[in-house]
């Protein structure tokens, strides 16, 4: 989401919280995804924790040798007949895709689901050049027709129910008004078949890239992704550099964790392992395969002693499925490509803490995200550390830090807090006379003008006794 469209933080929160329909759709969906995940782990896995540990290790190994991995991938992928492109920024990545389209005289590409393309703002970039990127993932298609953005990284249109989708298809595709999933599918299928027919360039993301094999692994459920990568003359795969791992075995470990975490499926419906363009004798497949390896601040993240851990992310969405804030406000409130706990960690790293740092308050630090993350990213700890960076106490400066206005009032309040909390006499004095929250109100009111709002929603208790006096009356208690 571009900066110029950004709503003030409180407005975004309020508007989305007030959207009852979205909240109901989301809460229901999240509860189903949670149950599915638990069930598949219980029923089908003997050593889920062991698998997590292995995945963490495999991914860390790849990250610690990323230079080597990337060069090895380039070498082997090239040997396999693929074209490897390097992009350092989001714009570079868009430009490479644009150039390929120009060269091939294509004014349209058909896309499989790819969060990476959202991250680099591809659709928008191409649109400005008069070109079209058409979504083929069912959820993405609904959103594109509706001029909406994904609310979730795995199930982009999960905030919409089938009645709303039926309405969209009626309004935008001229279909008859339907609400049965089968009928909606049929409408989408017919629409997409036409799109596939004259397809020249298909674009996909990449789930895992294997450097030893010079191959990529794509996972999907609808079959459209397979169309985008095989039915076209040209396939472009957009791949963040952190997706490159060493071996097929390593990637397989990750795949085992991905769909159970995401939707509770044991295995994905489609596994596509692409080793290169169509060879002599092959019945289908594109004649050209291009891989765009893009950095977009990932190298910077890798160099950070804390946030490199978030590069293990396999975009399963489990952290958002289990986040008690996400299911109340939905993904749009974050106003960045990646919402939820992982979004809170990577958005400031990818787009700058000045632009996205406000979302760091969307977390009660309940720790459920860290608990479910299949690759053991300590999300809650990282969110807390990011708050520290935002407050200006971090050792390594984050992207966009130079534009940060540190909250002086909050810093002042925290120094006051420290002063009272390291001085028993002062503490006793303030609490002895206090109404609950008094110290907080006194100390933080300048920093947190919303403190009044707490009591707008909730009743506060009243104070009855002087603890210090009462404790001294108890026998067997030494007050010292």
């Amino acid at each position: 989401m571009s900066a110029e469209h950004k709503l003030p933080h409180e407005v975004a929160v309020h508007e989305n919280l007030s959207n009852e329909q979205m909240r109901t759709n989301l809460t229901t969906a999240m509860h189903i995804l949670q149950k599915n995940r638990l069930k598949v782990i219980d029923d089908r896995f003997e050593d889920w924790q062991g698998l997590r540990a292995r995945a963490r290790q495999a991914k860390n190994n790849a990250l610690m040798s990323l230079d080597e991995r990337l060069l090895e991938f380039e070498k082997n992928a090239t040997k396999n007949g693929m074209h490897v492109h390097w992009a350092s920024s989001d714009t570079d990545a868009c430009e490479i895709i644009y150039q390929i389209m120009m060269e091939k005289k294509a004014n349209k590409i058909l896309k499989g689901k790819s969060m990476a393309s959202e991250e680099i703002g591809l659709n928008h970039y191409l649109e400005k050049k008069g070109l079209k990127a058409v979504e083929s993932d069912l959820g993405e298609l609904v959103l594109q027709l509706d001029e909406d953005t994904p609310v979730h990284i795995v199930v982009p249109a999960i905030h919409r129910n089938r009645y709303q989708i039926g309405q969209t298809f009626k309004d935008k595709l001229g279909a008859s008004l339907e609400s049965e999933p089968e009928k909606l599918n049929a409408i989408a299928r017919e629409h997409l078949r036409n799109q596939f027919e004259d397809l020249k360039i298909g674009l996909s993301g990449v789930n895992f890239a294997m450097s030893e094999q010079g191959a990529i692994w794509l996972i999907e459920n609808e079959g459209n992704g397979r169309m985008c990568t095989t039915a076209s003359d040209i396939h472009i795969a957009l791949c963040g550099i952190e997706k490159v791992m060493q071996s097929f075995e390593d990637a397989a470990t990750m795949v085992h964790l991905l769909t159970p975490s995401a939707t509770g499926q044991f295995i994905p419906t489609y596994n596509n392992i692409i080793t290169g363009p169509r060879k002599n004798g092959d019945l289908d497949g594109p004649r050209e395969v291009h891989i765009v390896l893009f950095d977009h601040n990932r190298t910077r993240m890798l160099a950070n002693k804390n946030y490199y851990e978030a590069l293990r992310c396999i975009r399963c969405g489990a952290c958002m499925n289990f986040c008690p804030v996400y299911d109340k406000i939905g993904g749009h409130t974050y106003q960045t490509t990646y919402p939820g706990p992982i979004g809170e960690v990577i958005s400031p790293n990818l787009f700058g803490i000045d632009k996205t740092g406000d979302i760091l308050s969307f977390c009660s630090l309940c720790g459920r995200c860290s608990e479910v993350c299949p690759v053991k990213i300590p999300l809650a700890n990282l969110i807390r550390t990011l708050r520290s960076d935002k407050a200006g106490q971090g050792e390594q400066k984050l992207l966009g830090d130079e534009n940060m206005h540190h909250n002086k009032a909050e810093a002042f309040a925290m120094r006051n807090f420290q002063m009272a909390a390291t001085n028993g006499g002062l503490w006793r004095f303030s609490l002895g006379n206090a109404h609950y929250f008094n110290w907080a109100v006194q100390g933080l009111k300048s920093a947190l003008p919303v403190i009044k709002k707490w009591s707008e929603f909730k009743d506060l208790p009243s104070i009855k006794v002087d603890l210090y006096k009462e404790v001294q009356k108890l026998e067997g208690v030494s007050y010292e």
Partner: protein
């Protein structure tokens, strides 16, 4: 053997839940435990830690390690503060040369229900009427201090109390310390969801081992005008043992 312990009242206990602190100490006294109450105790440092003010939090942590210097168990009637002192302090000091000092302190910290359940293995005689209650798990107690099993074990020792579990027990109630102050509207939405879940059990009592969550849930229920009563675990236990009216 006579046990001697430090009692850590927590800032919320001192500021808003004095009865709970007194009752918690009484539960220890009932087992013959000798209690030291440090009058200069303050706060575990969560407000600054969770807001990212690590420098300030470190000073508070060091203050605590020095105040509770002797090798007695430090009993905390809150999974949240116990988790902070037994685990998060170590995270906070992981690259600090004073880590060993911190680790020593952290190893002494234990949540009260864990102490009653696991160390003292208390024997409780329930003098109250038969009732149904439900239980709210504090996130930090659940995932960091891991004291929920012990808390529930204590309730299960009461023969006239039936415990009905919440359907979405593992969901946060929206307190989260400064979170509820910084994002009051989201916090309220979370608290309402929690209260719904509580209402769905049909129980008239909600018990929790954490002051913050309890204030949050009770404050919301009272604003909604519900006739469900919220109790802190240690208030509840003492009342049952004394046969007092709830």
């Amino acid at each position: 053997m006579l046990n001697k312990v430090y009692f850590y009242a927590t800032c919320l206990g001192t500021a808003a839940m004095q009865e709970m602190v007194l009752n918690a100490i009484k539960l220890l006294r009932k087992e013959g435990v000798e209690v030291i109450f440090k009058k200069n105790q303050t706060c575990c440092g969560q407000p600054s830690f969770n807001s990212g003010y690590f420098n300030e939090s470190k000073e508070v942590a060091l203050y605590n390690t020095r105040l509770f210097e002797k090798d007695y168990p430090i009993i905390v009637p809150s999974g949240s503060c116990a988790g902070m002192m037994s685990h998060d302090y170590i995270e906070l000091f992981k690259e600090d040369k004073r880590l060993d000092e911190i680790k020593h302190f952290s190893s002494k910290v234990i949540e009260l229900s864990q102490y009653l359940d696991q160390v003292l293995n208390v024997n409780y005689e329930d003098k109250g009427e038969p009732i149904k209650v439900t239980w709210h798990s504090n996130c930090h107690a659940l995932r960091v201090q891991k004291s929920i099993t012990s808390s529930k074990n204590l309730i299960k020792r009461l023969k006239n109390v039936e415990l009905i579990e919440l359907e979405y027990e593992q969901e946060c109630c929206g307190f989260g310390g400064t979170f509820s102050v910084k994002e009051p509207e989201i916090s309220n939405a979370m608290a309402r969801a929690k209260v719904n879940d509580i209402q769905n059990t049909g129980a008239k009592y909600i018990i929790s081992g954490d002051g913050g969550c309890l204030l949050n849930i009770k404050g919301t229920m009272s604003r909604m005008g519900l006739d469900i009563k919220g109790f802190h675990l240690y208030d509840f236990l003492l009342k049952r043992l004394e046969g007092a009216k709830l």
